[in-house]
Symmetry: D2
Subunit: 331 residues, 4 copies
């Protein structure tokens, strides 16, 4: 459903062209300083406007409607809401009958029986990630010294990302990309066997971000081509520091104290300025479709801050869950 987490629990809501998008953060510890300006840096990284991103200028002004008092979190749920203002009155109703290739138009219709808000992707829109980024800003405060940092490694298979985007814009096409995330100063011992290893939790939330189609930890898919003697990371310190980090900082699903490292594959934006073929569900005839409007050439450009938020939410939850010896009252 639309919630994630156990002790640090987020519940997302909203639609691209409805009244609002936003998130409720439940289980955030009391006493954390929080103000609107804290959101600026991450919102600005997520925002569109740069080359390769949609020219739609969204209103990203958050309102904190609960859980904040005297400049600090109170321990009660924090509601962050963004009212939608940049919606256009254009007619989206044909999306219901003529599903765009690569989009959730068809599947949403099958899931919700035609009652879904189909305008601009509705509840499936990338605009929903605004709430996730807001939760990430709060989560980053909860995890304190632990640092999460994601960057884009390549776009369209090209490390010269700017060149790749120029070429795609010219071709009126879109391109995918690879985003890498590193979490440093992670305490050893996070993660819960058997079904909540760190990889499982991170991948669960990361695949909730639209357009993600793959994830790998440490050497990842390359590990499948390695031998054990190459892949095993020798332990060289009593604190668990390893010589190499093919494991991506995780053994047996539990953090080993080294940097947690993962990469995600972002598919090319589904909306392109080209004629595509699809089925008209009402007439039962194949049609040609041109997706109008504003959209990103390379959505991967806007993904890093969202992946960071997702990883921070997982770390916050795990750090609150961590079984510490002093929490046990042994008889």
């Amino acid at each position: 459903m639309n919630s994630f987490g156990k002790l640090f629990r987020i519940s997302i809501f909203g639609e691209s062209h409805g009244e609002s998008v936003g998130i409720v953060v439940d289980g955030c510890p009391a006493g954390i300083p929080l103000k609107l300006a804290d959101f600026n840096a991450d919102f600005s990284r997520r925002r569109s406007g740069a080359k390769g991103t949609t020219p739609r200028r969204e209103s990203d002004l958050p309102r904190i409607m609960s859980g904040l008092f005297n400049g600090h979190t109170t321990g009660a749920p924090i509601l962050v809401i963004f009212e939608n203002t940049s919606t256009r009155p254009e007619d989206y109703s044909r999306l219901k009958d003529i599903p765009r290739p690569g989009h959730a138009d068809f599947t949403a219709g099958r899931k919700f029986g035609g009652y879904q808000d189909y305008r601009g992707g509705g509840h499936f829109s990338g605009r929903l990630t605004l709430g996730l980024v807001a939760a990430g800003v709060i989560a980053k405060k909860v995890i304190g010294p632990v640092e999460v940092r994601a960057t884009i490694l390549e776009a369209g298979g090209n490390a010269d990302i700017e060149a790749a985007i120029d070429r795609a814009v010219e071709a009126r096409d879109s391109i995918g990309g690879i985003v890498e995330c590193r979490i440093s100063r992670v305490p050893a011992g996070l993660g819960e066997p058997f079904f909540d290893p760190v990889e499982a939790l991170i991948s669960h939330i990361v695949f909730s971000i639209p357009a993600i189609k793959g994830i790998e930890f440490g050497s990842g898919f390359h590990a499948a081509k390695m031998t054990g003697s190459e892949h095993n990371d020798n332990i060289i310190s009593t604190d668990g520091t390893t010589e190499t980090n093919h494991a991506g900082g995780i053994n047996g699903g539990i953090t080993n104290g080294n940097e947690v490292l993962f990469r995600v594959a972002v598919k090319p934006t589904s909306s392109i300025h080209q004629v595509q073929r699809t089925m008209n569900l009402r007439s039962g005839r194949l049609e040609e479709l041109t997706v109008e409007g504003r959209h990103d050439t390379c959505i991967a450009l806007r993904v890093p801050v969202v992946v960071e938020a997702a990883a921070a939410v997982v770390m916050a939850d795990l750090m609150l869950q961590a079984q510490q010896a002093d929490r046990v009252y042994k008889k």
Copy 2:
């Protein structure tokens, strides 16, 4: 923790060299025919003994201790237990102080403060997957016509898998591999936005399988190098059939009725017959370590049936959750 699923919920337990391993399946519908012989085929696929797998012959004889009556499931929890018999009385206690590279020895110690059962990996052992495979056998019955099928594509980067294993055995080393899974006859509309898309659920449980370090859906990491015009799957039928299947049968996290397709990366077995370096946590000195005993050259060989089980569990849970119009009692 050690449970997974919402309506079809599994809880795993056990240790490699403890009393038992097994699983509790809760939420399985009543009236499904089930007998011990139903487990044979999948257990035999998981079992060791073939070239490239450990010569340890495990007792895989399940006992069903609850939830079964007159040859059918009753709707109450089903406990499947496997008592351990092939354990050896050898001394594993040094693993506590001298963690093996690539294993969970160090992280388990940090997580459980030295109280973990360290014998043969304890609760982190691949033997735990026996319970998961048992749950998979039951899940496959729940999903009926839906079929899940996983196979190994390559080992050590080589599609000639037998040759790859011969070479690794000779080198006294281990190798990784790639496993592909296909789910066919999937109804459209499964998956729950925002945080329970199909990719999230499958990756969550799949990363719980020891040794998995990556997962990708449809074109996966290759999608990051594609353009939108290449990657978008044209819809060519009102039932959602697409011309290509780059999306792996999932749009917006919801099944689109085409085959669900994913691949996982399996790292090389951590146990190898070579001298490795690690830290003696007690003495604080680096030591050389040789891992003795029986182990798999290529654990990926035994992974397909486990991945199938994991995917079947997700499908069972989603099919029980599916919001059907006739389940709504509208005023």
Copy 3:
């Protein structure tokens, strides 16, 4: 935490004198007609103003910020929010140091380390039930023909409720009451053994309503004084109809098709216009305290519609979970 339910899941937020109160309803089926006017009847039953209730006139105007499109639910989360307007600028800060007897002032401080929003009870205020009533309005639509109806049976131990309130107002004191709830046209077979029997689910959510201190089903506490031959309900029809209903419509935690019946005990409002003794946590000295302001003489008067909402939420969740034979795809 602040969420309840499995498939029909509600997440509550807000503070009495903060920005807002409200609720997110996740898992509501798509296609249910919903408009603002649907909330009027229940909000008006909950509203204060009648004799025995606080003269504070709250703004109960809901805004639906997501999950609604073309007058129907979409299947996506529904956010209902109430902005607070009737808050007073008075100084509540001394509540932090001088906890009111019977209130959550002391416990909130211990739980949240002094960071809680203490104004008017903050997150512990009865105003939070506004969100629950809103969720109840939606839940009642989901359960269709099933009807939930709660009424007040007595106040201050007196079935002449008006007289009891007159007496309490005169004494500048408050009184408790008993509320009874009946759920009719319930399908047999709802409830989940072992840990989710109907009584467990209803009591869980009902005790979340401020001021509830007891609950009993069917004959309840009186059953403890009965014999089996008196208490057992003879079954007189193949549809499960019983001659009597001492069981309150539930056997073994599962609905039996008869009316579900329970009663709750509501304690007297904690705020009274009398001098009380409490501890000044800052000075460490006992003090006399007079609670100023507007408050209910008998909060039980406003509880029935909240109990109805709670019961409707449970029924909605159980009806969506009901294991129906046609949801099983047997091999």
Copy 4:
């Protein structure tokens, strides 16, 4: 479903006359000393044999099948299983068609479509509480200094319990009773607003115990007849100690540091040695039914240790969840 708890999570399974009953305890901290003898005292309190309890002598010998190593818990799930041995080969099949009044025979049939194990109540049997008591033994160790103690206050409305039972045995009837539970040395600050107040959690698990039909905290139903000036507990110490304890140690759903106090109503045993009327579901005709076999005159006699276990499980879960300042890593 058959699980309860968040961080200290129990999963119950089994049937009265099937292979076994038992429980899995997940999330128990590592390092707690545990041996079979630790179960003796509580099992013996639960055991039948005394006057007023069934003469069936159950085998209550637990086997710990996982999660225990070198005499301590390991942090992995603990499976405690009891194999059934005292089952009789008698024919229970007519229970399927002729449901006993007061039992779950009819509702189980409606829920599970006739596939339920109907022998001796199957999964609905009181024998399942054996697993809950086992979990309680472990939970009591987790909560350390906190003490849980339940006793029976009255049977059949009579404080002279022995006399009440003599009379009921003579009448070949059964009687109910009231059980009181007190939890002492409870830290202040446990419980989670809004939906997980302490009363909600305790009542949830307590109503899972067969035969419980009511629960009240502190003054409970009597509070409904009190005034606020009588009911409010004056705070007389900075640690939260109150002069009286009408609140049962809980304000706003959060423990206030005083004794947590609640009472439960236990209905009379449904099985009685008298002729009763019920419906034959197959023939559609009313029939007379005499329930044969061994059963308790007053099941309430065996309930205290089960209620203790339930309360201990809740306390263990809440104490592991407690948000402690030192678990927050503020930036």
